[in-house]
Symmetry: C2
Subunit: 429 residues, 2 copies
């Protein structure tokens, strides 16, 4: 029923500029008219659930600056509410534009509630995680239950939700020749369910109901990639692209109901296949914002996947992705703790910012020029201040030269007092 | 005098396949005939000083796998022989293909001697650092003294040397509008000298003498980029490319004497300018191996420049660079210690390997496929073993699940026992 619709896309379709659009326009240094038009086209979303009271809205889409997401949340083996709030604060402090609460352990509703109440940034979830956590076995899941949980979370104020509506029964045989099979948790749960009942994906079958809920609370749908590759060997395969075709179809259906949509993408992709992957996705899905997990560009560096994936993420954002889901050093090894969250966010701020500069987005290079000015002036305090992580920068500088005197000196321990190139260079007539 | 020539390029020109060429061919899984031909063309070098007795030779060039260099060495404020040897061992342990000893503090000759004696990988230096360290003021430098130090180091067994022969007096005014001026130490020293005396660069004037020394010991010349940009704002400017023209001229001169040459490049470059930079350099310098420092793709992340630069380095290697000089987390802040060396080397192993995969070099993806197989088998020990940094991978895994039991379990703390996608995926019929 169109009269229940409260989505930003609905308002955009009517030509109404909302407060959220104004705030986004201001943050992006763009005109509100531009924002409303892009939302209407579907190339920009503002994930802003009407029940997320503390939200300071942001926009996601290729016409805007690149955004990054930090996953937090517990698993059955670790974490609690207090710890998750700490991770939230750390993520936001270092510059995450959104967080996703991926809790699968205890106190799921309580943790989510606390996060939404506390978070100034959009909060995302993967509702099927809660469903699977609350049943004994995957076969006990039902379509009604999945929809109920989606509605419950929507009502709580979740701004965007990953729903794996695109993985179909017909796709499962395509994964049999893969090295690492299905590595999306949502995808694997649905695959098991479909195999057990020999029935179609309930989230695909009930997509209309999901759209109704989205209209009612303005939940932005993040169409999940249940068949994303889990290793380089499986990248860009038939299964991955078969699902993408369905995501394109669902994008159109969602847009018909003025529901905001982003599209999820892989995962593990060799560096030379990133451009092709991104362009294919953006083109197939009519320019809907593309949300990538990394991608990691090699499988051999567990413990350093914030780096392997920041490399892929920079390339992805440069080629057209607009939303980067961070990967922490703990990926493939364990649940990230607060320090991993920090490392992941900083690596992704670097990736997003490097892409914004490369795309020559408005004023993107300004902070770089400011820190470079501070460098040539040997204004160390300013350099630290302008850094993505001032404490770490200062700590590293101070390790060998802790004295206050060296905060004004025209050299650091790298070159020593006699050999600073910039110092010599300044003296050259 | 041609009869004194002992360079790999000299032998290649004569069609002689040396032991070094055979070893390189074996390591690269290529034919010796291919290697000798590429060396003859100048597209591959084997830095192998006849006095570096312990050397296990490697080849550098775009037809081969991407190589990485780790800078070690002290500055006036920190370090000694023992510490530098520790850094050498750490660098080689984690996979550095070469090391450069950039010492500028005390005991320079002693440290270099110890490093050469101990190092199985090619050792590089920047002789002008020693010259500048040993004089009171830059104006006290003389051409004779510069050449003497180059010869002394060549005799010691240095395999490759950075010589800033390409920065000319005429280039200095071009740096005046730069934000950070000249950030190459060698470049700034020579610029000061040229300004003081109003004379041409002595390393340019005496290039013939440098070639004679190179012929005698087989020193590979790394033609330094004294005018590399030190921030994004200065990237791809007139000064940078003016020097490049001179490097091209010197490459041809060196090749006429059968001296091996690599070309150095920047530095700080926006991601979108990397391809242009690499292609220009490779083309101008007739395919001579291109040795890049990073490049970093944003200036705002001191403390994380191993990441900002690994992003640039991957792109650079993908576009045609064949030799990547690492950047450590301490870059712009201080002298790297052993842990920084490790972090730098691992970030660059990732970059080089990701590029080799992307370029579809022979068997490049093999280790990735092996670790992916271990992942789907939940063979945790094998996963750690196949990682770039096994200890770190295991430490992260064990943080939440330390018990031996979990080394054989089909889940980790990321998903917990109920939610491992790969585990569920394996059960899907």
């Amino acid at each position: 029923m169109e009269n229940k619709n409260v989505t930003q896309k609905y308002y955009a379709a009517k030509g109404i500029i909302t407060n959220q659009m104004r705030k986004v326009a201001e943050k992006e240094e763009l005109e509100p008219e531009f924002i409303v038009n892009e939302i209407k086209k579907g190339t920009v979303v503002i994930p802003a659930n009407i029940n997320h009271k503390k939200l300071d809205p942001i926009g996601i889409g290729f016409p805007l600056k690149t955004k990054i997401n930090a996953n937090i949340g517990n698993s059955a083996t670790a974490s609690d509410v207090k710890n998750e709030l700490k991770k939230l604060h750390t993520a936001v402090h270092y510059g995450a534009d959104t967080v996703m609460d991926l809790s699968t352990g205890g106190n799921i509703n309580e943790i989510r509630d606390a996060i939404i109440k506390d978070s100034p940034v959009p909060v995302g979830t993967v509702p099927i995680y809660q469903c699977a956590a609350e049943v004994e076995e995957i076969k006990n899941l039902t379509a009604e239950y999945l929809i109920d949980v989606i509605e419950f979370q929507a009502k709580q104020g979740v701004d965007f939700m990953t729903v794996h509506c695109g993985i179909l029964k017909e796709h499962i045989p395509l994964t049999k020749k893969r090295v690492t099979g299905i590595v999306s948790r949502g995808g694997s749960i649905l695959a098991e369910w479909m195999s057990y009942y020999n029935k179609q994906n309930p989230l695909y079958e009930e997509f209309e109901k999901i759209l109704e809920i989205s209209q009612k609370y303005d939940v932005t749908l993040s169409l999940g990639d249940g068949l994303r590759p889990g290793c380089l060997a499986d990248a860009s395969d038939e299964a991955q692209f078969a699902e993408l075709d369905v995501l394109a179809e669902l994008t159109m259906k969602a847009w018909e109901k003025n529901v905001q949509v982003i599209i999820e993408g892989p995962g593990h992709i060799p560096f030379n296949q990133i451009e092709m992957n991104i362009k294919k996705q953006v083109e197939k899905c009519f320019g809907a914002p593309f949300y990538v997990l990394g991608p990691v560009v090699t499988d051999i560096a567990p413990g350093y996947d914030h780096i392997t994936s920041a490399i892929g993420a920079t390339m992805a954002a440069y080629c057209g992705a607009s939303f980067l889901c961070y990967v922490t050093p703990k990926e493939h090894l364990g649940l990230p703790d607060e320090e991993d969250v920090k490392q992941g966010v900083i690596a992704y701020k670097i990736a997003a910012h490097a892409a914004d500069i490369a795309l020559e987005r408005k004023n993107a290079r300004k902070p770089d020029d400011e820190i470079s000015e501070a460098r040539i002036k040997f204004d160390w305090k300013k350099q630290f201040e302008l850094s993505l992580d001032p404490e770490t920068a200062q700590k590293m500088h101070d390790k060998l030269l802790p004295d206050e005197y060296f905060k004004h000196s025209d050299f650091c321990s790298m070159c020593g007092p006699k050999f600073c190139a910039m110092k010599i260079s300044k003296s050259v007539k």
